[in-house]
Amino acid sequence: MVTTNKTMRMQTRILLLLSICFHMAVFAWPDLAVSGFAADEDLGAMWGTAKEEEKYYKLVQIPIPDHVPLKVGSFDVLPDGRLVAGTRKGDVYFIDGAFDEVPNPKFHLFASGQDEIFGVAHKDGDIVITQFAEVTRISDTDKDGVADRYTTLSNSWGYEEGHEFAFGSKHDPEGNIWVALGLSGSYNSNQLFRGWCLKITPDGKTIPICSGLRSPAGVGPNHEGVMFCVESQGPWNGSCSLKHLKPGGFLGHPASYNWYPFVKSMDAPSVKPNPNSRIAIEKKRVKELVPPAILFPYIKMGRSISGFRLNQTKGKFGPFENQIFLGDYTLSVILRATTEEVNGVWQGACYPFREGLSTGIMHVEFSPKGQLLAGGFTTNSQWPVRGKEPFAVDRLDWTGLTPFEMKEINIRKDGFVINFTKPVNPVVAAKLSTYNLTTYTHIYAGFYGSPEVDHTTPKVTKAEVSDDRLSVRIYVDKIMEGHIHDFDLAKMKSEENGDLLHKKAYYTVNEIPKSDAGEK
């Protein structure tokens, strides 16, 4: 009896499942009587690439004074070059000097007393924050450096439960803030617009965008200005994903169907998704269903993806311009993603980028110097995080050396183009055996998460190396719609016979192009 009995282990596992990826749950998990998954929880294997990554992207820890509880929920950068951080404690700090080579920053408390902040954006001299209960514009009207006006732009959504998180974007070109609202727990939408994305206009109008979210985190645009948000694994979500916030769309979790009667401009989808199905099947039945653009295979590519930002540093951060960088809370890693639109549907690939960060990452931000900041925190108990600092801000500085990486994968009607950051060894790259490709998908259902199912192993039939040796066009016998295409290029060599820094990439195929119009 002294050893953990089977029933209890089962129970622990179920609880684990219940909580997996729903990392937000930790912040307000109600008295968990049975929390068998605390400190020694297996977080999955490390990629083992941290040491090599450090050569290309150096990790710098930003010092935080003892008196500042900087549990970052969101970042922004002011036009004057100061870093802005919104925190769990409800404070907004302006930080001077965070981007210096050897940082010794000064912290200025601009605003305080707000609820947990998971969205910060500057506009016209003001700071707009997204907190649990509202979107708030914070102004310093007497210009003494400290906020004195807090204007509620919108609180037009229900908030009656501790898990009902709200994450906000930066301003879109029209000045709107996009807010993604988590469900009441994982399964239900008990209050108005839980599970929806809303758009808050500069004058405080609230416009519902789409339904079907579960426990969204970061919200922001891709390189074409199209808005996306991060979604967490859980019911109706086999793994974490990046979802396209398509106006009028239904993004997968049907609990939030009940708010369509409150939206004049939208009708509820005429059918609900069938349980125990596949996204690729259900999207044909539920025409509003927008499949996740990028699926992040669980543990291999994060467990609780949080905030993300688009890299438009004009090369200051290396060869990954216009790509998306995402933080992961549980694994303390940074991931990379690329998106493309095929047949009107967004999809793309994700790639490992950097591991070994100091804490649970909640948000990332690019500095004007092209550094990537990553901040966040851990919780005291209950939720395992690989980074051990209770809170921290890390900075990744590109050293100027280019790693040999799969830069981007694009789909073609009968295969893929794999772009590299450096020229490949043409002999190795022309070998079909260099390309190990498997595919799988998830069960689309109301239970928690999903194993990987329906595995296939497409055959690579041809590999054409481009003249500049920076890309390879591969042809495969069958592309699987609705599947993650798992690329293992361990055997690939660069021109200098170097290995890939990261050998894996994962492309989510929602659509297969009808022609190769995109072929260069």
């Binding site: 912040f27 008196h67 404690k89 209960a133 409150f262």
Partner: protein, 922 residues
């Protein structure tokens, strides 16, 4: 948690103590006054303390008034029947020095033969125990509480005077400690707890202080000291809580222990889920044979004679399950251990057996015992009225009543005549002249025998003539008092003594970075020059303390006993006075102090707590009370050279050797800089927050400006709390745009998006919107119900945010249809300096509005006490309505009866602005 930690420290150090004790151990033969022996007091004063502690003046007359008032009164005996075991008392009266070695109680029967002394002690006991009605009985000790008590006993200060004990209970410093005797023979848990909580009721002279602990802690200490008490019983039980399904060793907390008759769960009260009970005892079987056990439970294990007989894994997924097992019983006692685990739904236990003891049935208590050896039950003392009368006579004749004079009134006038006779035995000054007989001689006679050593007797003999001839000076009074109350057991005082080496290790604290200052109470050297008199009296007489991180509590000795020290310290301690120049620009100096204390200056707040907010560093003494605690001269000298008053302090000097680091502050004048800190700190809790103050603490403190926090908790989910500088607070619900709570005192704690009001004197306001057009006075006042998804926007409400004034006080903005409202709470003081709120609600409408009500308050009793003045339970609310031209509207307030009753103020808004002003006093 803290207790546990300290307990751990203790365990680690125990071996060291043992070796010390081994060297020192020898039998205690004399009355123990360890404080006298270890002190550096003059011989005369030592003699004086002995005279006082033995209460010589109870029998001997003296010209010295102070000797009479300072002498220790003996324990009060009128309540002894409730508190003490009569058998112990009887033994103790007869031979006190054998029963409690080291006691100051004299043997008053040395001149009687054995038979006489036995019957005298018996009669006196009958008399004493006839004085109270409720008889003494033994309590079962709780081993779980005892374990906690052990930690407390060794950390909160008990072992500063009494001996620490090892695991087996052996006293480690017996020869240098105030003796306790065999407490388990004397007290029960209830009476010892009561004594510890109120020691001065029994021992009015305060030598045994009160420690101001929660009652639960006194109980724990009592359980520890009495843990060897033997009481017969059927089964021992220990109750545990936590992750019991994983085993009982880790992640499980022991809750309580005791005796229980059988396996009937109901006898242990309500059982919480995820708890376990360990039953231990012996099962008596007349015959040997196979016994079969039938259990029904969620989970558990049964062991008979160290063999596992039944084992059922617990599960939270089901209710109870049946399990059975069999084993051979021997004739006689069979050892039984049963672990019952309640991880499932309802707690349920059925425990039956069949076999040599009979047919299948529940196990009767008659065959269960906690011990294989018989334990004698406590037999109440039967009072014999004849003996009571004899006892009274003995009590007078043997002189007991001279010291234990509280029971004098229980004795007849006739008998009392004998007291007077005895009291005139001799003058104190005469008593020492003849050494051939009397208390100080080695002769046996009709006088009390004190267990005084030869040297103690010499001290007394030498001292008495001097004591009679002159009263003590201030310094002598201070020195004597510090010994009498054993202050030096915890505090150092120069040239007098301090914490003894062998006890040093028992002083612990929870801020290890502070070193010795984080565990040993502060020195008393120059304390009268250091502390304000008012603060000395707060600490000594009202139990205030600043160093919460010390495990040792400041004991309370009673104002009557130590009150004189408050003045006396100031009279005997002084340092050179410091002259300060007149301050011209007070604000400028304060600002300099504010700057110096923060990270912009000397970063005092990096180590020190400030205004209730914990330092990021070691957590040294709170600074905000500095000027109400210490004197300005001393503060100046201390800042200049901390080492002067506190040797080895970790406090650095910011002006080492008078050197000034901050040359641009106040002209680089060290004296002015130090004074600026003082002037700044004089603002107390209102002092402006310094730069760099840690924001890590979950507790929000209000200082010179208002503090806001938002989140779920006290005021719904969209709550907002404001703490105002006048120490009043509001909680405002920004969803229903309405006031929810007013309170006074401390503000709130915040915790990841939640806040909870602290403080006191709460006045709450009901859920619901502030304004509404009631169709009828019978209609319900609207509030957000579970499915009112768009409420209160659907009622025309919109919260617009707030602005902050110079003191960071918010003005809320919101809309009710066309009505735009700005709403400002101002904290004010009335004539009696009581804080109240003046609330100004300004309504602005583009055109005249249909009348609506403002629900101002609700409560069980709502009365109109004057025009526009209402009393709602404890809240006094007045209001006025005027437009922007100053035209007032008469009071038309409606008291609506209901559950609860409500005060509704009708508002008929005309185009333009209307101002509703309310005053909330409570």
């Amino acid at each position: 948690m803290r207790t546990l930690f300290w307990g751990f420290v203790l365990c680690v150090q125990a071996p060291f103590i043992q070796t010390l004790a081994a060297q020192e151990r020898n039998a205690i033969e004399n009355a123990m006054f360890p404080a006298i022996e270890s002190s550096q007091l003059s011989e005369t004063l030592k003699g004086r303390v002995l005279v006082e502690e033995q209460n010589c003046v109870a029998c001997h007359s003296t010209a010295s008034v102070s000797l009479q008032t300072d002498s220790k009164k003996s324990p009060r005996l009128s309540g002894i029947g409730k508190r003490a075991n009569p058998y112990y008392i009887e033994r103790f009266i007869r031979s006190p020095h054998d029963v409690k070695p080291g006691t100051s109680m004299p043997n008053i029967m040395s001149h009687l033969d054995d038979n006489e002394s036995v019957s005298a002690a018996n009669e006196i006991t009958h008399f004493l125990f006839s004085l109270s009605e409720s008889p003494f009985e033994l309590n079962v000790p709780d081993s779980v509480a005892a374990e906690k008590g052990r930690g407390l006993f060794h950390t909160v200060g008990c072992v500063a005077c009494h001996s620490p004990r090892d695991d087996s209970g052996k006293e480690l410093l017996a020869t240098t400690s105030t003796p306790l005797g065999e407490l388990k023979d004397k007290y029960n848990v209830k009476s010892l707890t009561e004594f510890l909580a109120n020691p001065h009721q029994v021992r009015p002279s305060g030598r045994m202080p009160s420690l101001n602990l929660p009652r639960r802690d006194y109980e724990r200490i009592a359980h520890y000291l009495l843990r060897e008490t033997k009481v017969p019983g059927h089964l021992k039980y220990t109750m545990l809580k936590g992750r019991v399904w994983e085993g009982l060793e880790v992640n499980v907390e022991r809750e309580k222990a005791g005796h229980v008759d059988d396996f009937d769960l109901a006898k242990l009260g309500r059982l919480q889920q995820n708890s376990a009970i360990i039953y231990e005892g012996f099962l008596n079987s007349k015959l040997p044979g196979t016994a079969k056990f039938f259990l029904e439970m969620n989970g558990g294990e049964l062991w008979i004679n160290e063999k596992k007989v039944v084992n059922l894994e617990p599960s939270s997924r089901r209710g109870v399950k049946k399990a059975s097992g069999e084993t051979e019983l021997v004739a006689g006692w069979n050892k039984l251990k049963f672990i019952y685990i309640h991880a499932g739904k309802e707690p349920k236990l059925s425990f039956e057996m069949s076999g040599p003891i009979g047919k299948r049935s529940a196990v009767p208590s008659s065959i269960l015992s906690i011990s294989t050896e018989p334990i004698e039950p406590f037999i109440p003392y039967k009072i014999d009225s004849d003996k009571v009368e004899d006892g009274k006579r003995q009590f007078v004749n043997l002189g007991c009543v001279n010291c234990h004079d509280d029971v004098k009134n229980k004795i007849s006038n006739e008998l009392q005549l004998g007291i007077k006779k005895r009291a005139s035995i001799s003058k104190l000054s005469v008593s020492v002249v003849d050494g051939s007989n009397g208390c100080l001689s080695d002769q046996v006679g009709q006088w009390p025998q004190f267990a005084l050593s030869a040297s103690q007797k010499t001290l007394i003999k030498d001292a008495i003539p001097k004591l009679e001839s002159s009263e003590l000076g201030h310094q002598q009074i201070v020195n004597k008092s510090l010994i009498t109350f054993n202050c030096l057991a915890c505090h150092d005082r120069k040239e007098l003594g301090g914490v003894p080496v062998d006890r040093n290790q028992f002083f612990v604290g929870n801020r290890t970075e502070l070193g010795n200052e984080g565990r040993i109470p502060p020195p008393l050297t120059l304390v009268g020059a250091k502390l304000q008199k008012s603060w000395i009296s707060e600490v000594m007489l009202r139990g205030q303390r600043q160093r919460e991180y010390l495990a040792t509590k400041m004991p309370q000795f009673g104002e009557a006993n130590v009150g004189h020290l408050v003045d006396m310290f100031e009279k005997v301690d002084s340092i050179e006075p410091v002259a300060f120049e007149k301050i011209e620009d007070l604000e400028k100096v304060k600002q300099a102090g504010n700057m110096l204390i923060g990270t912009t200056g000397f970063s005092c707040i990096a180590c020190h707590d400030f205004n209730g907010q914990k330092a990021a560093g070691p957590g040294a003494l709170e600074l905000i009370h500095t000027t109400s605690r210490v004197k300005k001269d001393w503060f100046y000298e201390f800042m200049l050279k901390p080492n002067r008053f506190r040797k080895g302090t970790i406090m650095p000097s910011s002006w080492p050797g008078g050197h000034v680091f901050m040359e641009d502050v106040l002209g680089g004048d060290a004296k002015k800089q130090i004074e600026s800190l003082w002037v700044y700190l004089e603002d107390g809790q209102r002092a402006k927050n310094p730069i760099g103050l840690s924001r890590k603490s979950p507790e929000l403190r209000v200082t010179d400006e208002a503090v806001i926090c938002r989140g779920r908790g006290t005021a719904g989910y969209r709550g907002l709390a404001v703490g105002y500088p006048e120490r009043v607070s509001i909680a405002f619900d920004t969803q229903e745009v309405n006031l929810r709570l007013l309170w006074k005192g401390e503000f709130t704690t915040v915790d990841n998006g939640r806040f909870f009001a602290r403080g006191r004197d709460r006045v709450s306001f009901p859920q619901g919107i502030p304004f509404h057009r009631l169709k009828s006075l019978d209609d319900n006042w609207p509030y957000k119900r579970k499915t009112d998804y768009t409420f209160p926007q659907d009622q025309g409400y919109r919260f617009g945010g707030y602005t902050l004034d110079q003191l960071k006080r918010p003005t809320f903005f919101y809309e009710y249809g066309e009505v735009k409202v700005s709403d400002f709470f101002e904290d004010r003081l009335d004539d009696q300096k009581n804080a109240f709120f003046k609330r100004t609600m300004t309504f602005d409408v583009p055109e005249s509005q249909e009348e609506f009500y403002f629900r101002a308050a609700s409560g069980s009793i709502v009365n109109k006490t004057a025009e526009a003045l209402y009393k709602i339970d404890r809240l006094v609310l007045s209001y006025k309505i005027e437009n922007d031209a100053g035209k007032k509207t008469a009071d038309r307030g409606v008291i609506r009866q209901g559950e609860p009753n409500e005060l509704l103020i009708p508002l008929k808004l005309q185009k333009g602005k209307t101002i509703l002003t309310l005053e909330y006093k409570w």
